[in-house]
Symmetry: C2
Subunit: 154 residues, 2 copies
DNA sequence: CTCTATGCAAAACCTTTGCATAGAA
DNA sequence: TTCTATGCAAAGGTTTTGCATAGAG
């Protein structure tokens, strides 16, 4: 919601710069997939993204979607995350503060949250074992309030 | 290391009780896989466990290993965890305090750690969004001390 | 023109399932 | 005996790869 033009410009610039540095080209599909990805403000799987494209009449092969998403992750536009079900999800990364996920085991709803104190405790715990943290993945699985109240009702 | 007999007895009792309650039987493979699993003090994949069994001359089918591991998870002997690579890892659960994982991106070494303060902050963050946490998964990816010193040296 | 991007199909990977049969209780 | 356990092979579900060709620069 409320995607500032500024953000989009920065993302486009990052993408262009990455392509240049790696001597890659801005193929038609690559641009379509990027535009669609950036227009979706939640994490998506390759499949979901392809479906979204198909609904707009753009028939992009699943392999291409995967290759695009990996590319976006490489250039810092996307963050890849794997949750329990084995599928890979991608979400916007650039300009988005780091966050973790709450996932409702009943309805699947996910909520992003951010707790800087947890992050610093992670660093501390890691350095106590000689580790330097590069990235982390934290998912809390449980039940959201609406699923809990429904469960009570039934 | 240092597995007290007490622990093993408890685990065997849990297993037996679960089998009884569910009218399952203690098949030969099931016992072999359990013994091997309990003898390994780190998380394993189904494949690794099967290889370990094979090295002892026990040819257990991969499907059976999967079925056994799911069974162990159901009866509280094992905890299943999925990390970034998409494979399922199983580790001892009974009698083991909850812990999270540090994973070295270079050498793959993993270290378990436990930080109760993080746990309580997770609860807090979840309840701020109306969630009740049932379980969570926290992995910190980075580089361990030995990989970092090697990198410096080269 | 040259080298990358793309689609398609096949392969790879890991896990699960179906089915016939061995084996517990 | 009866019902579960097991092996094997096949199926599933998702991601990756090979290859021929379209297409960007």
């Amino acid at each position: 919601m409320n995607r500032p033009d500024r953000l989009l410009r920065d993302e486009a610039a990052m993408f262009a710069s990455y392509l240049r540095q790696h001597r890659l080209r801005r193929g038609r599909r690559r641009q379509e997939v990027l535009a669609e990805f950036l227009s979706i403000e939640r994490h998506v799987t390759a499949d979901e993204l392809r479906d979204a494209l198909k609904r707009k009449g753009l028939g992009v092969g699943i392999a291409t979607v995967h290759r695009c998403l990996e590319l976006f992750a490489s250039c810092g536009l996307a963050r890849k995350l794997k949750v329990g079900n084995g599928r890979a999800y991608y979400e916007h990364d650039y300009g988005h503060a780091h966050h973790d996920h709450l996932i409702c085991l009943d309805c699947g709803r996910t909520v992003e949250f951010c707790e800087p104190l947890i992050e610093s405790l992670q660093e501390k715990a890691a350095s106590a074992h000689g580790f330097l943290v590069k990235r982390h993945s934290l998912e809390l699985y449980g039940s959201c309030s609406s699923c809990r109240s429904q469960a009570k009702g039934s």
